[in-house]
Symmetry: C2
Subunit: 254 residues, 2 copies
């Protein structure tokens, strides 16, 4: 499996045709997986906004006040308002604002980026990342998979890693259930979140910041003869950690 | 970056010299990252055990009873005892047993594997995976990094992905703090858990089960000019999800 960045991409602006920009710079082959950072997808889709676009309602002011109390730093209630408008549920309010973003991804601040926004205040996540992936895929000149990626923190482990927000042309995961180990026992490991692992591999070569390359190609990845699933984001009913977070109150004295 | 499996490894038994087995089959180059599945590390280190080695104490019987009540399936209290002995803290008791394993990794059943154990009942995690990684590294014939990997589920997202349990010859993560984006703003993304992303990339090519290849080489990965950190596992004091899970009681009526 070979993982390489597409170099020479220009700054991406609203309305740009990402597929064309990539096709001009990468000699794609059928079966390649093209991993595209959500930041450039959002920019191409014009998902920039100003804080003033989000006049804060009472819930946003309450959250901003709570965050300020807990962290000791002023929080802009307009930013909390933007997060609420980009989310379907608040999972945790403090000491950071963890929500389910409209696309299903649970992340801090609904994935809204305040850096790397080209002069605007906010960069929102793509509205429907799997549809974005499908559009990019349709415009590329080979039969490839596309993964729209982000980076995200996680419980229990420090640091961020690449994750998938949307995908097209391949399933989200592959299913090893019913397969056996070398001793003939059925495997306990069951479903492998392939698109997240592809996003992680891409993040190892893409870098961040002003040297960053937002498009990475994974070549010669073999999905193999497995059932696939489109299911990446857990339902609350099967997510016990999320159930535990509901109603939990951060106590600064912990 | 090129990721490829080391093929032709035999079944690994207690006392086997993993470094020698890999060296004979892979033409390693300085800077390679050798990702080794914890299963073969455990086998080489003789970390197999029988359920009878873990006579259940009162806490294990209580946990097994709780799990049986919640899931409707009989649970072996000896298995709960094995998990307790391999853990430093129970994070969540039901509907599955989530603990901090001795090495710091938070996972289900302390990572104890009941498949793929070569006839024994249980395969325990390596006792000190970073020391295992260092030992393997010292025995290889190039100046490489070594990552001892496992697969693990996670909150919010379905499926498992590769994660690191131990590492040697490279830091756990790289630090982008203080670096700027293309517009000159300081990055919000800060610390990248490189060893977890390497484990994820390796898992894409290693597979599971009887066709699985437990050793994968990542070549031409550029760590770059960044500060590194050895810190992969969160302290409870900075892990708000883990704090929320403490004292949380699963309610089957949810």
């Amino acid at each position: 499996m070979h993982t390489f960045a597409v170099s020479g991409l220009p700054e991406v602006d609203a309305g740009d045709d990402l597929a064309a920009l990539v096709s001009e710079r990468a000699d794609l082959t059928d079966g390649d997986i093209v991993c595209v950072a959500s930041t450039v997808v959002s920019k191409a889709e014009g998902r920039t906004a100003a804080l003033d676009d989000f006049p804060a309602g009472p819930r946003a002011r309450e959250i901003a006040g709570h965050l300020a109390d807990v962290t000791g730093e002023e929080k802009d209630p307009r930013f909390a308002q933007a997060v609420l408008e980009e989310s379907t549920e608040v999972v945790m309010e403090a000491p950071f604002l963890l929500t389910e973003a409209t696309c299903g991804h649970v992340g801090v601040n609904a994935g809204i980026d305040r850096s790397n926004t080209g002069g605007d205040d906010l960069l929102l996540l793509p509205e429907r990342p799997s549809e974005s992936a499908e559009r990019i895929r349709a415009g590329l000149d080979a039969d490839v998979g596309v993964v729209v990626t982000d980076t995200s923190g996680r419980p229990f482990r420090h640091g961020q890693r690449g994750v998938a927000l949307g995908w097209a042309g391949l399933p989200a995961s592959r299913d090893w259930r019913g397969e056996t180990d070398r001793d003939g026992h059925e495997l306990e490991v069951t479903v492998e979140a392939v698109v997240d692992e592809l996003a992680a591999a891409a993040n190892l070569v893409s870098g961040e910041g002003d040297g960053g390359t937002p498009v990475v190609v994974v070549r010669d990845f073999e999905f193999g003869d497995h059932a696939g699933s489109e299911n990446l984001f857990r339902e609350v009913s099967g997510d016990f950690v999320r159930q535990a977070l509901r109603g939990w109150e951060f106590d600064a004295g912990h």
